[in-house]
């Protein structure tokens, strides 16, 4: 803390990098009686990509869905603990979910573009949030599509249906759609698991470029992917966050026995 304080005096920009934009303290999740996630505390910084790994049902997606309170949409789901975003706890009944989810974007496992035109897929949410100026929306659409490395492929067919795009293009459109709301955190829930290797590569390359000025948190089953894209990794097992650290350390020098077993394929 003291160190951070000193640096903040020296350089405000650096302080921005050091203070986490989003962090959790002892987050627990119950689905009815099932205790799905225990005491999870993690920090996320802007400019960093964090991978959440672990076997199926370990709680990594559950944790991800706490960060934008999507779990609140599930009947019978209860979240306890503190989730700090921009220095205030969002896990309160008063939190404005609509405001929150504008600045914490999410991309899902299956590409889920709306059955609308490519243009509308991007312009739709900003318009609902009050942006009605056509010129601004046009600009926003182009900027978002460029941000998702999709502009050159679709610029001539913005008025065609998004569902006619390929799976990989659809997923990049979903990323563009999230970018259009100018989020500073983006959550990705196994974004490549439904895609072919080439589309996967495109998304991974994209991840580095969108990480500038944003915290990226990605759930993945694919450990090579975690090593390729992430700076930090957190390993979940049986509803518990077992170990977290620099990605290199996690994969090359795991401290806990369970992570070691997982990495050597002793369970999956």
């Amino acid at each position: 803390m003291i160190e951070t304080l000193e640096q903040s005096v020296a350089s405000p920009a650096l302080e921005e990098l050091k203070a986490p934009v989003l962090y959790t303290k002892d987050v627990n999740v119950w689905y009815g009686d099932h205790h799905a996630l225990q005491d999870t505390s993690l920090d996320f910084h802007k400019g960093e990509i964090t991978a959440l790994i672990g076997p199926s049902g370990c709680g990594k997606s559950t944790y991800l869905r706490c960060l934008n309170l999507m779990n609140r949409e599930i009947q019978g789901c209860q979240i306890t603990g503190e989730i700090f975003y921009r220095e205030h706890d969002i896990n309160t009944p008063e939190e404005d979910l609509y405001e929150l989810r504008k600045s914490i974007g999410m991309v899902f496992q299956q590409p889920n573009p709306f059955p609308k035109t490519i243009y509308e897929n991007i312009a739709f949410a900003p318009r609902c949030h009050g942006q009605r100026n056509k010129a601004t929306l046009d600009e926003l659409v182009e900027e978002s599509l460029r941000g998702a490395a999709l502009w050159d492929e679709v610029k001539d067919k913005l008025n065609k249906s998004a569902q006619a795009l390929s799976g990989g293009q659809q997923q990049r459109l979903c990323i563009a759609r999230a970018l259009a709301l100018k989020p500073d955190v983006i959550l990705l829930d196994e974004p490549c698991s439904a895609l072919d290797p080439i589309s996967t590569l495109a998304i991974e390359e994209l991840m580095h470029s969108i990480a500038a000025g944003r915290a990226i948190i990605i759930v993945t089953h694919n450990m090579e992917q975690a090593t390729r894209v992430s700076n930090r990794t957190a390993f979940f097992y049986m509803g518990e966050m077992v170990e977290t650290g620099e990605t290199e350390q996690i994969f090359n020098a795991p401290k806990s026995q369970r992570l070691n077993d997982y990495l050597s394929g002793r369970f999956s």
């Binding site: 999507m70 009947q75 979910l97 504008k102 974007g105 999410m106 899902f108 299956q110 006619a164 709301l181």
Partner: protein
């Protein structure tokens, strides 16, 4: 198949397990070839038999439909092509004239029914699918819809008569009929729309909520448009059923149109204005019921003609439902 009979059979992997398990005692490799051939024949025959029976059943269904449609068309064709059948009003006792007013009343009733029942059903279905939490409220609501859909239409008609015609003082009127038809139509529509909304992938809802949209914004801008082709198909199909309904209308809209209707008078309160919703009216189906009792050969001709007309209208509804649904879904998905 020839290969199957040549290979020694003991533990042969290409034997259908259901056949071998039926005769597990087969072990002798020499006797086996004959035995396997017998089993194979049996399986083939069984398959042929089942295919034959099922084809016959479906053939019978097709035959019934084709025969009925053809019979009604042939019987009705003569009347249907008479000049004036579609454009003239009916005469006393239905012994001559046309069904122009009945045709108009049928469409007018249908139009009013849809105007009332579509918004209500849409609201009900959206509540059930998007808003109601799983629990007692949802269960009670869906039981209520099911009950309403299983009420005999004559009972709905009686209720409409007592409440709207007598209670509200609407007498025999188009609006009484339309409201009775609405009660008959709501459960059908709610279920069709509910099904359409449930078929929209959950991922679409998640995508909306994750972008900070409200449930209402998601419903209006994404879910209903996605479900639109199925909703339109459901509405048009229900229109076909409403169009042919007679029992619910006998006591509500009545069994006669005014002697003369003025289609150009838009004074909605004038008794002779075609558009007046408080005048009595008679649908094609009710007309069939009424005229059939007359017994004269001329009346019989009119009945067949009306039946053919009614059937053609309903068939057109079904074709339109398919075409509209397909066109809309193509527009939405762009493929």
């Amino acid at each position: 198949m020839a290969e199957t009979t040549e290979t020694p059979a003991v533990g042969g992997p290409d034997i259908d397990p259901s056949i071998t398990s039926a005769s597990p005692s087969v072990v002798d490799p020499r006797a086996d070839a004959a035995e396997r051939e017998r089993l194979r024949r049996r399986a083939v025959n069984q398959d042929k038999f089942a295919t034959g029976v099922l084809t016959a059943i479906i053939g019978l269904v097709l035959l019934i439909v084709v025969a009925m449609v053809a019979y009604i068309l042939i019987e009705g064709a003569y009347t249907l092509v008479q000049p004036g059948f579609l454009t003239e009003r009916s005469r006393a006792n239905g012994t001559a004239g046309g069904v122009a007013y009945q045709l108009f009343d049928s469409f007018y009733l249908l139009f009013l029914t849809l105007i009332i029942s579509v918004p209500i059903s849409l609201g009900g279905a959206i509540f059930m699918v998007e808003y109601a939490p799983n629990g007692p409220v949802k269960r009670i609501a869906s039981t209520a819809v099911e009950t309403l859909s299983s009420l005999p239409s004559i009972v709905v008609g009686m209720f409409g008569f007592l409440v709207f015609s007598v209670g509200f003082g609407w007498k025999y009127s188009i609006i009484s009929g339309a409201v009775a038809l609405t009660m008959f139509n709501i459960p059908i529509l709610v279920r069709a729309i509910q099904q359409a909304l449930e078929d929209v992938p959950q991922a679409q809802r998640d995508a909306c909520l994750a972008m900070g949209l409200t449930r209402w914004e998601a419903t209006v801008h994404v879910l209903v448009p996605s479900a639109m082709s199925a909703i339109v198909t459901g509405v048009v199909l229900s229109a076909g059923r409403v169009f042919g309904e007679a029992a619910a209308l006998l006591f509500t809209s009545g069994m006669s149109s005014p002697v003369s209707l003025n289609f150009l008078s838009f004074g909605f309160t004038s008794p002779s204005s075609a558009w007046n919703i408080f005048r009595p009216g008679e649908s094609l189906a009710v007309h069939i019921y009424k005229i059939y009792g007359e017994g004269s050969p001329e009346a019989q001709q009119i009945v067949w003609g009306t039946a053919a007309l009614l059937m053609i209208c309903v068939l057109i509804f079904n074709v339109v439902a398919r075409l509209a649904g397909r066109a809309l879904s193509r527009k939405v998905t762009g493929v």
